[in-house]
């Protein structure tokens, strides 16, 4: 189809079109120049800023937690150490459907309902964005299975970690304590102490016992790695690193075998025992029984185990040596006798007649002796050997509460001992001030009388009693009880001794002391209240028995009907030191519902002293060292 008439038109059109092409080209150039200007702005003018942003993007400082220090007994037996194992960890915030994920994982490795429950509990307590363990101690086979299926589970990781382990299990559990996952309260405290930075990357912290009180030494210094990461936070390579410094190791005064002997000696009794080296205050054995397995707590205890421990009427979580205060009963008598001698209220030869009771002047109320009919003529020696109550009712009345308080407080009664463990209670050493503060009531003379035999308001922890006994054994020099004797520096391997600290130098007349100690020695001889348990000992033992009345059932306790009566029985109390002429060990034993100190508590003390002084194991059974308790020890 040719249209010559439109040829001119065609030329015109073409010219118009070409004009528009030129305009289009101009449009393209202008917009490209706009892009170029933007590139110039971003890549040249703002280069420094984006360069910095890119560097920040890719470099992350990842904290590397240090290895926790070890806890060793006096002979180097490991009581707390670390081992490496694989754990299966889930970061809930990175996981879509948590239940589906756990179910999926359960098809690959075994996950028990208890572990699920524990995980749920951890989740409720955890910090945000935290990886939480679902399974620990994976086998190599399980690790391989999980690694092959990892892509299916976002937010799930298998990590090699160091775990805390307490090889002796429940032995010395109250002394060692345990570590547990850091919770909000811990975080707050760390923040207040200004050590938060050192805990970046740490999941665990000491919760009770030595693990808690020596947290600073044991934790170590967190290192840091500068790593290149991708947007998902995965490390690609390490740029630089500051190595963490492992925590320092602790050497205890404790003898783990002695501890085992003591624990075993309690049998099924509940109670506490604290044995102290009187020359240093070092704690040789520290029993609160029943105990618990601290290993349960390390990665969060499951609900069932927790309830079992927490609801048990035996209160295995209660540190009886440190936190339970009992009336000291007759074990107060040697101290009372010393008070009488020191103030010149009694001479050793002063004799009273005991009709079986004591009455205050102008009062018909009779304070009864434990022995109906009385002990007859009683001097100081006999008052201790036979534990005559009437003698001490009268002595207390003659001394008065003020002097009693002044004298006895020198031994540490009514005051925290300052042991290197937290949670100690002070007990009660009654005084007028104490009572006024407590009840706004005056002090009655009758209260002094019963305080003279360690009843009434008097409350003492087994630890306090042991410290006081050690002071008696050491001629009046009281040492602060100390669990740790040395700290091994993880960097240098050097051993730094923790020096014994004198609490108090009590001014005692050696002759007075000799009277009391001689009487205490006779306590363990025929005719004394602890004669049977100490028969045939090839070393001299000074001791005193006691009985602490159980007032009643505390609120909230549910007793098995069969046990109600048993739980009403008196507690047996006992203090001893040996060899009496050159004391190397002083101890206090409390046996709950053990009735008489001489029958239940004294044999326990004998077993401990026999082992400590003679290396002799109890005859009935040869104690085996718990598994893992031996072997070479390294400071790291």
């Amino acid at each position: 189809m040719s249209r010559p008439a439109q040829l001119r038109n065609y030329q015109l059109e073409l010219a118009g079109f070409r004009q528009r092409v030129v305009i289009a080209a101009g449009f393209v150039v202008v917009l490209f120049l706009l892009l170029l200007a933007r590139f110039f702005y971003v890549q040249v003018l703002e280069y420094q800023r984006y360069h910095t942003l890119a560097e920040n993007n890719r470099i992350t400082v990842v904290p590397t937690p240090p290895n926790r220090g070890l806890i060793l007994d006096r002979h180097g037996v490991v009581m707390a150490h670390n081992y490496s194992a694989y754990t299966l960890e889930i970061t809930p915030s990175k996981t879509g459907d948590l239940d589906a994920t756990i179910n999926g994982l359960a098809q690959l490795v075994e996950i028990t309902p208890a572990q699920r429950k524990r995980f749920a509990k951890l989740m409720a307590e955890s910090r945000n964005f935290e990886a939480l363990p679902l399974r620990t101690r994976l086998t190599d086979e399980e690790v391989a299975k999980l690694a092959a299926n990892r892509y299916r589970f976002p937010g799930v990781e298998v990590k090699a970690r160091l775990f805390r382990q307490y090889p002796l299990g429940a032995s010395a559990s109250h002394l060692l304590g345990y570590i547990g996952r850091i919770n909000d309260a811990d975080l707050k405290r760390l923040d207040e102490e200004g050590v938060m930075a050192n805990y970046r990357g740490s999941d665990h912290i000491g919760k009770v016992g030595i693990e808690q009180s020596y947290e600073t030494e044991l934790h170590g210094i967190t290192g840091a790695e500068q790593v290149e990461t991708d947007a998902g936070g995965h490390a690609v390579r390490t740029l630089s690193r500051i190595n963490p410094v492992s925590g320092n190791s602790l050497v205890l005064y404790l003898d783990s075998k002695l501890q085992a002997v003591a624990e075993k000696a309690f049998g099924s009794y509940r109670g506490a025992l604290v044995a102290i080296d009187p020359k240093t205050g070092g704690v040789l054995a520290f029993v609160s029984t029943p105990g618990f397995d601290p290993n349960l707590f390390v990665d969060g205890i499951d609900t069932a185990s927790w309830n079992a421990l927490n609801d048990s009427p035996d209160k295995p979580l209660l540190n009886r040596a440190l936190r339970s205060a009992y009336p000291e009963g007759s074990t107060i008598k040697p101290f009372m006798a010393l008070a009488g001698l020191s103030y010149g209220v009694r001479k050793p030869s002063d004799t009273i007649f005991d009709p079986g009771y004591f009455s205050l002047p102008n009062s018909s109320h009779r304070y009864r002796d434990w022995k109906a009919g009385g002990h007859g003529m009683v001097d100081m020696h006999k008052s201790i050997v036979q534990s005559c109550d009437t003698y001490y009712y009268r002595l207390a009345n003659d001394l008065g509460i003020d002097r009693m308080h002044a004298f006895l407080s020198q031994f540490g009664f009514g005051r925290k001992t300052g042991i290197d463990m937290e949670g100690e209670v002070a007990g009660v050493l009654p005084s007028r001030e104490w009572k006024a503060k407590r009840s706004r009531q005056p002090w009655y003379p009758g209260e002094t009388v019963i305080a003279g035999i360690g009843q009434g308001y008097n409350l003492v922890t087994p630890l306090q009693l042991a410290v006081a006994t050690a002071a008696l054994a050491n001629g009046g020099i009281a040492f602060r009880p100390q669990l740790v004797q040395a700290i091994i520096d993880s960097r240098t391997g050097q051993r730094r001794a923790v020096l014994p600290q004198v609490l108090n130098r009590i001014k005692l007349n050696p002759a007075d002391l000799q009277v009391v100690v001689a009487a205490m020695e006779d306590v363990t001889r025929p005719g004394g209240t602890a004669a049977a348990a100490n028969a045939g000992a090839p070393y001299l033992i000074a001791a005193k028995t006691g009985t602490a009345q159980v007032v009643g059932i505390k609120q909230g306790e549910k007793y098995d009907a069969r046990r109600v009566l048993a739980r009403h029985r008196d507690h047996a109390v006992y203090i001893a030191f040996a060899p009496a002429d050159a004391p190397r060990i002083a101890l206090a034993v409390l046996v709950e519902n053990g009735m008489h100190g001489g029958t239940t508590a004294a044999p326990i003390a004998r077993a401990v002293m026999d082992y400590y002084l003679l290396g002799k194991l109890p005859k009935s059974e040869v104690l085996k060292a718990p598994a893992g308790a031996t072997g070479e020890v390294h400071a790291d």
Binding site: F17, L36, R38, Q43, A54
Partner: protein
């Protein structure tokens, strides 16, 4: 002998300068993809295969005379609109948008077809009314344009709708749409913007707001822009070097082989690389406009001009988006981003350009 002659005939329809420029861009693209895909040989191979297929399509289309294309225009447009209607009624919903149509054998995205069918249709229309062109023809053309654009916008796929309307508008522009009308349209557009804002979906509004201040939502909608700008900015004048981009290789850049591949390029080759890339794009566009300017028929001119400007638009929108001056819309960088469909579509366009360029003598005779 015969094969050789046939081959020579086939190759005679290839525009050597344009091919050379395209191959240069493709070669560059292979380097960038290798880096962006974490040095994956498989990805490189797949990208290369896409290129070969696209080149094959280009050669094929280049050998089709423009008259045939002319006769294809109307059917292609009608099929395209029908498919879009199909999508609107029976399409598959992916990510909240109804864009795909399942034909049983394969899933197709009819809006992609419209990127070629639209300018083809309008060029066909103007070609047929060349002699009697009146103002109302622009109106009819605008209507032809509005139907598929509205359907695509409704999916909703605003980015593609804008690109399709741009390619249609370029035809109107080259067909001589009077300036006063264009100015009037511009004014109307500006006036309707506040109203249009309310018709945008929440996520679309968010994208625009994110452009203004990406830091508002650094881990959500703003993340792409922030990370790509950091990649580009930290590249500096000369770049961090090939395979050295930290943003890229440390997984900070999202969509780094597809829509955000330009950020990879920018980070590793810097401003210098960007200037070279812009120059290369400009050269391809200039060559395309030259072909348009010397095309023998109105249809050929309109097709060539419109396709060239469409190519420019994709490149500009993508680079503008990556560098943070345009909102994030899903537009790949032509011939550089990974993706077979887009590559074939673009090369099909260049095939048409080459056909226009090399069939002129045939037409004149």
């Amino acid at each position: 002998m015969r094969i050789r002659r046939w081959l020579l005939k086939v190759l005679s329809h290839i525009d050597a300068p344009l091919l050379l420029l395209l191959l240069t861009l493709m070669l560059m693209s292979l380097f960038v993809q290798y880096s962006a895909a974490s040095q994956s040989d498989a990805r490189l191979l797949s990208h290369g295969l896409n290129m070969l297929v696209a080149l094959g399509v280009m050669v094929l289309v280049a050998n089709i005379p423009p008259q045939y294309l002319l006769s294809l225009a109307l059917p292609l447009y009608v099929v395209g609109v029908l498919l879009l209607l199909g999508v609107a009624t029976a399409g598959e919903v992916v990510n909240g948008s109804r864009r795909w149509l399942d034909l049983g054998v394969t899933r197709i995205q009819p809006s992609e077809i419209m990127k070629i069918a639209m300018p083809l249709m309008l060029a066909w229309y103007f070609h047929h009314h060349e002699a009697t062109l009146r103002l109302k023809d622009y109106g009819i053309a605008a209507l032809l344009l509005a139907i598929p654009v509205a359907l695509v916008a409704k999916q909703p796929d605003l980015g593609t709708a804008l690109l399709i309307s741009a390619s249609g508008f370029y035809v109107l522009f080259f067909a001589g749409l009077p300036w006063r009308i264009m100015l009037g349209m511009l004014a109307a557009l500006a006036a309707s913007l506040p109203v249009a804002w309310h018709f945008l979906h929440d996520y679309q509004q968010k994208r625009v707001l994110t452009l203004i201040d990406p830091t508002q939502d650094p881990l959500g909608a703003g993340y792409h822009i922030i990370q790509s700008t950091i990649a580009m900015g930290s590249g500096g004048s000369f770049g961090k070097g090939w395979l050295q981009g930290t943003q890229t290789h440390l997984d900070f850049l999202p969509e780094r082989t597809t829509d955000f591949v330009f950020a990879v390029f920018s980070e590793e080759f810097g401003l210098l690389g960007n200037v070279l890339l812009l120059t290369l794009f400009l050269a391809i566009i200039v060559r395309g406009l030259m072909i348009a300017a010397s095309a023998p028929t109105l249809f050929a001119r309109l097709m060539a001009g419109s396709l060239t400007l469409a190519f420019f638009t994709y490149a500009f929108v993508n680079m503008g988006m990556v560098s943070g001056i345009l909102p994030v819309v899903g537009v790949p960088l032509p011939l550089v981003s990974y993706g077979g469909t887009a590559m074939v579509t673009v090369m099909l366009g260049f095939g048409i350009l080459m056909s226009v360029k090399t069939h002129r003598k045939l037409l004149k005779s």
